[in-house]
């Protein structure tokens, strides 16, 4: 297929974006119904144009069209088909196009699912989405065009970074971007609210499902990225406080805060200004995270090729989107302010505490990530901030959050008493303390304490559901009937809270992991963590675009074979690069993890880990995302498009 079709479609998307940004917003300001009703069509038009452009790029990559510079630089005719497809977004230009496509998907989603929004609000939301996406499509067209050609076309391509030729990483960016870009919808709602000058309970209810959907994807995306680092980089760790990881953590933290603040807007018509600011901040963090990685300002293993020129373009773009939204906030924000009196012990009080703690953690992470850069520039002071800083600062803020998380959902709105809530939780507290105490015999104090927090969270979530369905206090059958009637939102929240408990249990368990590095000759046996690891032999194995050196390790316990691990070292001749393929065997409670290192003196250096509880880290993230998904399926959210009470301008006929 002709790459120029994609090029044209991209240009068309820019044109649609301009129309989408200008016509609906202008119409909403003037009260022109026809202009407002153009919004969904324009959004769908942009989506179709971007999907076409992306499809063409995928096609030329699969088709080995090396006359396209992007394909030449990142592909090779021998590259497996799967990675030719996923390689479309495995490079700078392609990933920007994917970003644009997902912005288009967001606009299309509001166009399709937002039928019950008031016409003026829908027009403004779609308009704001168009204005943000026009910037990115323009950036793709002018500064990162994936459809540029080279002449004469080379015979073959340069292949893709072997580290990136991995299934986990291949599906990671689309999911992460769905999270990042998904927050553009709450952002657009926030800006639209500032334009309209009103935020009410209905607004809170509209914003929540979009925020929740984006949050689920971001949770999944971050977990996948961390999983990739765990098994592909072969360092045996899962989180390195790397700037790129921090850049994805910050929108997750503020997004989680937003998720909870929007509940207060819906239920109590309070915290409006704060929620609007959080919505703007979350998307701003998503954008600036991407920018910081792309411009090469922050260095990291994950980074793409750096180019400061592109950085200036993106910075101007971000300045317009973020600066514009915040200027509007400074100008119109006061119109939204609400007078709310809060009892500190109440559901809303607990949600405010949640917001304070989450935003404090986000601030600490932001400072730790950016301070070295600015200290270097402004003060001429070279310093670096690493894991010790983050571990020492984040944990004291996270622990109160964990403790409060189990209590919060038990409190009632407006005014609650702590006593009854704690009465329902006392057994969870006792069991959590016992877990902590038990663990403290096997490990140091801190992991044991965190493990206790994990038990507290999981059991606290269970206690919440138990109290709702009055388990053991009424007949079991009636309890099950009550369970059926429990709103899925409440169930989803409890599951997500328990999911965090599962994740931190995994993190605490990982700090008890044991590992060793040894030079082992074939036939020799290593004893580690109660297992016998016997190196059976080393052999070469061919791959599609690499050759591999494989070690066969038999792992047995008390003479019984547990598993055979075959870690590999792969050399990629085209890129002259070697990657390690760690091999992991898991039984759900521990990972047996083996990495093959260099060979010398007739033996091989093996790195062996026994990672206790490690799978729980990612299992917990999955549970969190599933909890969010269950919440999303709540009837209240699906049908819950309430008519705006009174005074809502009857601008458009509901479609």
């Amino acid at each position: 297929m002709n790459p120029e079709i994609g090029h044209f479609a991209l240009a068309l998307a820019v044109a649609f974006g301009f129309a989408q940004a200008i016509i609906p917003i202008w119409g909403a300001q003037r009260g022109d119904i026809r202009m407002m009703q153009a919004a969904p069509g324009l959004a769908l038009g942009q989506l179709i144009a971007l999907a076409t452009a992306f499809g063409v790029l995928m096609w030329v990559s699969v088709d080995n069209d090396f006359s396209v510079l992007n394909v030449y630089e990142n592909s090779h005719s021998l590259k497996p088909l799967l990675y030719k497809i996923t390689g479309t977004w495995g490079n700078h230009e392609g990933s920007i196009l994917l970003w644009c496509l997902i912005m288009g998907v967001c606009g299309g989603a509001v166009a399709v699912f937002g039928r019950n929004l008031p016409a003026s609000l829908r027009a403004r939301v779609i308009g704001v989405l168009g204005a943000s996406s026009v910037g990115f499509t323009l950036f793709a067209l002018l500064a990162s065009n994936p459809f540029l050609r080279i002449w004469p076309p080379p015979a073959n391509g340069q292949d893709m970074n072997p580290l990136l030729q991995d299934l986990g990483l291949a599906i990671h960016p689309p999911i992460l971007y769905l999270g990042y870009v998904g927050f553009s919808i709450p952002f657009a709602f926030a800006v639209a609210a500032l334009l309209e000058g009103r935020v009410d309970a209905a607004w809170g209810r509209w914003v929540r499902p979009w925020t929740l959907a984006a949050w689920c994807f971001l949770t999944g995306g971050i977990a996948l990225g961390s999983w990739w680092a765990y098994y592909e980089l072969g360092w045996g760790g899962f989180w390195f406080w790397d700037p790129v990881e921090n850049a994805s953590l910050m929108p997750w933290l503020t997004g989680t805060a937003l998720l909870h603040a929007a509940i207060v807007v819906e239920k109590r018509e309070s915290l409006k200004v704060w929620t609007v600011l959080l919505a703007i901040a979350t998307f701003s963090f998503s954008l600036s995270g991407t920018f910081l990685v792309r411009s090469g300002i922050l260095n990291s293993v994950h980074a793409f090729a750096n180019d400061p020129t592109r950085g200036v373009f993106i910075l101007v773009l971000l300045g317009l989107v973020i600066g514009g939204a915040l200027a509007l906030f400074a100008w119109r924000g006061r119109a939204l302010s609400s007078v709310g009196l809060f009892a500190p012990i109440s559901r809303e009080g607990a949600l405010v505490l949640n917001n304070v703690l989450l935003c404090s953690i986000a601030a600490v992470v932001a400072i730790g990530t950016l301070y070295p850069l600015f200290a270097d520039m402004v003060l001429g002071q070279k310093l670096s901030v690493g894991a010790p800083f983050f571990n020492a600062t984040v944990l004291p803020l996270a622990v109160p959050l964990f403790i409060a998380m189990a209590v919060g959902p038990m409190l009632s709105w407006k005014r609650a008493a702590l006593g009854p809530a704690l009465m329902r939780l006392w057994w969870a507290a006792v069991v959590a303390a016992a877990v902590g105490l038990w663990a403290s015999f096997g490990t140091s104090l801190l992991p044991a304490f965190v493990l206790g927090c994990a038990a507290w969270l999981i059991l606290g979530a269970f206690a919440d559901i138990m109290a709702r369905i009055r388990l053991f206090r009424i007949p079991l059958l009636s309890s099950l009937l009550l369970l059926r009637g429990t709103p899925r939102g409440a169930l989803g929240a409890a599951i997500a809270h328990a999911g965090l408990g599962v994740t931190i249990a995994g993190i605490a368990g990982m700090s008890m992991a044991v590992s060793t590095i040894l030079l082992v000759k074939p036939g020799e046996t290593v004893h580690l963590a109660g297992y016998d690891w016997k190196l059976m032999g080393l052999h070469d194995a061919p791959g599609p675009n690499y050759t591999a050196r494989v070690a066969t390790i038999q792992v047995s316990r008390n003479g019984r074979l547990v598993t055979v691990l075959a870690p590999e070292r792969r050399s990629f001749p085209v890129q002259q690069m070697t990657t390690t393929e760690a091999k992991i065997e898991t039984d759900g409670f521990r990972d047996l993890y083996a990495v093959l290192g260099d060979e010398r003196d007739g033996g091989a250096v093996l790195r062996l880990h026994d990672n206790f509880m490690a799978p729980w880290i990612w299992l917990g993230a999955l549970v969190m995302a599933l909890g969010g998904g269950l919440s999303l399926s709540d009837r209240r959210l699906r049908l819950g498009a309430p008519r705006r009470a009174a005074k809502a301008p009857h601008a458009g006929a509901p479609a």
Partner: protein, 184 residues
């Protein structure tokens, strides 16, 4: 009251503009080539080591004052028994010890008993040993992880730094010439 609120509502904008301006300056200087963010990890370079005082493993530990007038260059190596790259690095340290290059070790977030056990079974490459069990001193040194090694000259100034395991090549090409340069 009203102006105070106006300032409050404008605060996010001001913060964002300040950050944007900062990023622009960074980018501008990166393009000029006068600034390289990748240089950030070499934090203490050409500065005196931060003040600290650490307990030892079996015998006495050491403090920053011990480094201020030591008279000869020394390597400060942060390590831990739980850190696989440290184990990877260990033979290189042992080789340096054989070459009479003085290394002082700081066990980071570790148990003294575990650290002693490690040194007894694998060999002790360190002239002096100290332990930073809570990891506080490591924060002052701006540690990004373990192992991390600093070359401190005879007056207590940091002259070279490596985060990650030292390789025999680094010893030959970087550490040996620096030891000569700063050795009195």
């Amino acid at each position: 009251m009203s102006t105070r609120r106006a300032i409050l509502y404008a605060a996010p904008l001001v913060a964002a503009v300040a950050a944007g301006g900062g990023f622009y300056a960074v980018l501008h200087r990166m393009q000029e080539g006068s600034f390289d963010p990748h240089g950030v990890p070499t934090m203490l370079l050409n500065r005196r080591v931060p003040g600290f005082e650490l307990p030892g493993l079996a015998s006495a530990g050491f403090a920053s004052t011990d480094l201020f007038s030591i008279g000869h260059p020394v390597l400060i190596n942060f390590w831990a028994t739980w850190c696989p790259p440290c184990i990877e690095e260990h033979p290189v340290l042992m080789a340096m010890q054989a070459q009479k290059i003085p290394i002082w070790g700081i066990a980071y977030k570790d148990k003294a008993s575990a650290a002693l056990d490690y040194l007894q079974t694998r060999g002790n490459p360190y002239v002096r040993n100290a332990i930073d069990a809570p990891g506080r001193v490591a924060i002052d040194w701006g540690l990004t992880g373990v192992p991390e090694t600093f070359l401190v000259d005879g007056d207590g100034f940091v002259r070279w730094h490596m985060s990650g395991p030292i390789t025999p090549k680094m010893v030959k090409e970087q550490i040996e010439p620096l030891m000569k340069k700063y050795g009195g």
